[in-house]
């Protein structure tokens, strides 16, 4: 029959494939990668959270009190002396000595070997904060043989009682035992 033309349509061949389940991308390798990375990252997070830093204004210029740090008149701030050795002549005793800017000295001997009276220090610092409410500075004079743990606990109590600017000092005079 002349003049008959088949209407245009997509190739029939493409329609002849049988229906199959929709193809999902293979996510298993990605999952493997994620499951490897996540425990590693979580481990790092746990570490960084459990470790904290305690900062302070340092003016330990090599033993002689030094300069710099938080500024202000450092001769007129409270001082906490941390000592370990006993010496009558040098007026040293194992424990803590808190010196007020005037002449008042509070002595807190240790309770037993390497057990300092932090409870009394905490109470004393709270009272001193009420007395010197305008200052936030305090100096910790630490003798070389005092344990690092004692120093950190002392600085910590200073900070929790409102003396947030802590100056770190070593004794001005060296001494022989």
């Amino acid at each position: 029959m002349a003049g008959y033309r088949r209407p245009y349509r997509p190739s029939e061949a493409r329609q002849q494939k049988g229906q199959t389940a929709p193809q999902e991308p293979d996510l298993v390798p990605i999952m493997n990668l994620f499951l490897t990375i996540i425990p590693f990252l979580m481990m790092m997070i746990t570490i960084s959270v459990s470790l904290m830093a305690l900062n302070f204004a340092s003016d330990a210029g090599g033993g002689a009190g030094g300069s710099g740090g938080g500024g202000g008149n450092q001769d007129k701030i409270l001082e906490i002396h941390l000592m370990l050795r006993q010496s009558e002549s040098l007026e040293l005793f194992p424990g803590m000595e808190i010196r007020e800017p005037g002449s008042t000295i509070h002595k807190l001997p240790w309770l037993s070997e390497n057990v300092y009276d932090f409870h009394s220090l905490n109470d004393l610092l709270a009272r001193l904060k009420e007395k010197y409410s305008e200052t936030t500075e305090i100096a910790v004079v630490v003798h070389p043989d005092v344990l690092y743990d004692t120093l950190i606990r002392t600085i910590d109590l200073c900070k929790t009682n409102g003396f947030v600017t802590v100056h770190y000092r070593s004794p001005q005079a060296m001494y022989a035992y």
Binding site: A21, M52, F56, Y148
Partner: protein
């Protein structure tokens, strides 16, 4: 003929043209993991790695803690009872005793701090931090030396690494009364 509802007789069986996929769909799990991954990557910084907790060191505990300065240039120093390690590379300096007694060791330490400090851009020098990670049972004389050398080089911020313990004072008191 009565219809018995308890039996499968007479129930019409439907056959599916496409068989169900037996694979577990992990797309939703992948979504959750992606969210966790983004959150974790955001929280993990390189500075945290620099001051990571060392398993073989006993840290002192504190109630108050300070956060490390943002974008701080950190130089870590690790003081064990028997060795001193410098920087992220953990370069062995010697023993803590060497810091006090050996002038050459102090000179090497100063040179290291100076190199690290000089590498910091001029506009970020005020944010340079020296992070001291020391064993709780170490005498403070060694810490004083580190602090002294650090401040002489120019570090304005010195941090002590501690572990947070909110009620150490109560525990300490009870321990001392025993």
């Amino acid at each position: 003929m009565s219809f018995n509802s308890k039996t499968n007789k007479g129930r019409r069986q439907v056959r599916r043209k496409v068989q169900d996929s037996k694979q577990l769909s992990i797309t939703s799990l992948l979504d959750v993991l992606t969210i966790i991954l983004v959150f974790l990557i955001k929280n993990v910084s390189m500075e945290a790695v620099k001051i990571s907790e060392l398993p073989d060191m006993i840290y002192p505990t504190t109630m108050s803690t300070d956060k490390l300065m943002e974008n701080a240039m950190v130089t870590p120093v690790k003081l064990y009872m028997h060795k001193v390690l410098l920087g992220v590379e953990n370069l062995t300096l010697g023993t803590p005793k060497d810091i006090v007694e050996n002038q050459e060791t102090r000179r090497i330490m100063e040179a290291f701090f100076l190199t690290d400090y000089d590498a910091i851009p001029e506009d970020k020098k005020r944010e340079a931090c020296l992070v001291v990670q020391a064993d709780a049972q170490l005498p403070c004389g060694y810490i004083t030396q580190i602090v002294s050398v650090g401040t002489s080089v120019g570090y304005e911020n010195i941090y002590f690494a501690t572990l947070e313990e909110a009620d150490w004072l109560r525990t300490y008191s009870s321990a001392s009364s025993q």
